[in-house]
């Protein structure tokens, strides 16, 4: 994996590390596209606070924004979530493979002639 992929993942995980931002992402996941006001409805935040959160999500590439007249419409960029999901799956698969080999190594060790008196 290239360097910038690691940085991108950092941005994604950082963006998802905040409950307000996860709320916005979850709402967009349900609706696809929403005006900023609807996506952040119910969050006890100032407009400036909401704007800050949206910017973090945009920087992570999780959300894109387009301006329609006075409306700012947010859209979930779902492939970015898949990138994070792939990262977890990759590690899971490496561990599963590695532990299978570990089991073989340990079994082989036990069948070696004992070189100490332990048990």
């Amino acid at each position: 994996m290239a360097n910038n992929t690691g940085d991108e993942l950092d941005d994604i995980f950082t963006a998802l590390g905040d409950a307000s931002r996860r709320r916005i992402v979850a709402r967009l996941a349900r609706s696809g596209e929403l005006r900023v006001g609807d996506a952040s409805d119910g969050l006890e935040l100032s407009p400036a606070g909401i704007s800050k959160h949206v910017k973090v999500l945009e920087r992570a590439g999780l959300v894109s924004r387009r301006v329609e007249g006075r409306r700012h419409v947010l859209r979930l960029e779902s492939e970015r979530l898949l990138l994070a999901e792939d990262w977890i799956d990759r590690y899971r698969s490496i561990w599963t493979d590695s532990l299978t080999r570990l089991a073989e190594v340990a079994v082989a060790l036990e069948s070696e002639p004992p070189d100490n008196k332990e048990k």
Binding site: L9, D10, T14, R92, S98, A103, A106, L109, E110, K119
Partner: protein, 149 residues
């Protein structure tokens, strides 16, 4: 930025060997190199300084892309034949994670559980309460569904 929200995965493996033997495979460089790493990779354990705060240094060579990745970590918990915890950071991903190996005797066998989690910001911890991976998974599903025409 190396702080990430809680990110965790659990993998379990039954091993037909005693915990003492499994623990050796987790802590002796020659043995470690025989099992750890992505398929097809060649692993060298440069350093396994098995004491609290001691350094773990690995080189993983992946021949298919002719790339070597350096990994380093530090031991945080060492309970021989029972528990081993160390941090893990790689040079190509700016993340520090924690790997926990738990060994439980099952007759003459061992149940090994690996818990691999991302470095947790204490501020984020209370907000995550373990559910964020589920959230991510369901969001990814939703995302896939949204992509369908």
């Amino acid at each position: 930025m190396t702080t990430t929200p809680e990110l965790a995965l659990d993998v379990q493996q039954m091993i037909e060997a005693r915990p003492e033997t499994v623990f050796r495979a987790l802590t002796e460089p020659d043995l470690y190199a025989r099992w750890f790493g992505p398929p097809g990779s060649a692993v060298t354990a440069d350093e396994m300084d098995l004491r609290l705060g001691g350094r773990l240094g690995l080189q993983i060579h992946i021949p298919t892309v002719d790339m070597t990745v350096g990994i380093e970590g530090f031991y945080e918990v060492i309970e021989p034949s029972r528990l081993l915890v160390h941090t893990r950071g790689s040079m190509d991903e700016d993340l520090v994670t924690t790997v926990r190996f738990e060994l439980e005797p099952q007759g003459m066998s061992t149940r090994l559980t690996v818990h691999h989690k991302g470095f947790v910001d204490p501020v984020d911890l209370e907000q995550n309460d373990g559910g964020w991976r589920d959230l991510l998974a369901s969001l990814a599903d939703l995302g896939r569904a949204l992509e369908e025409p």
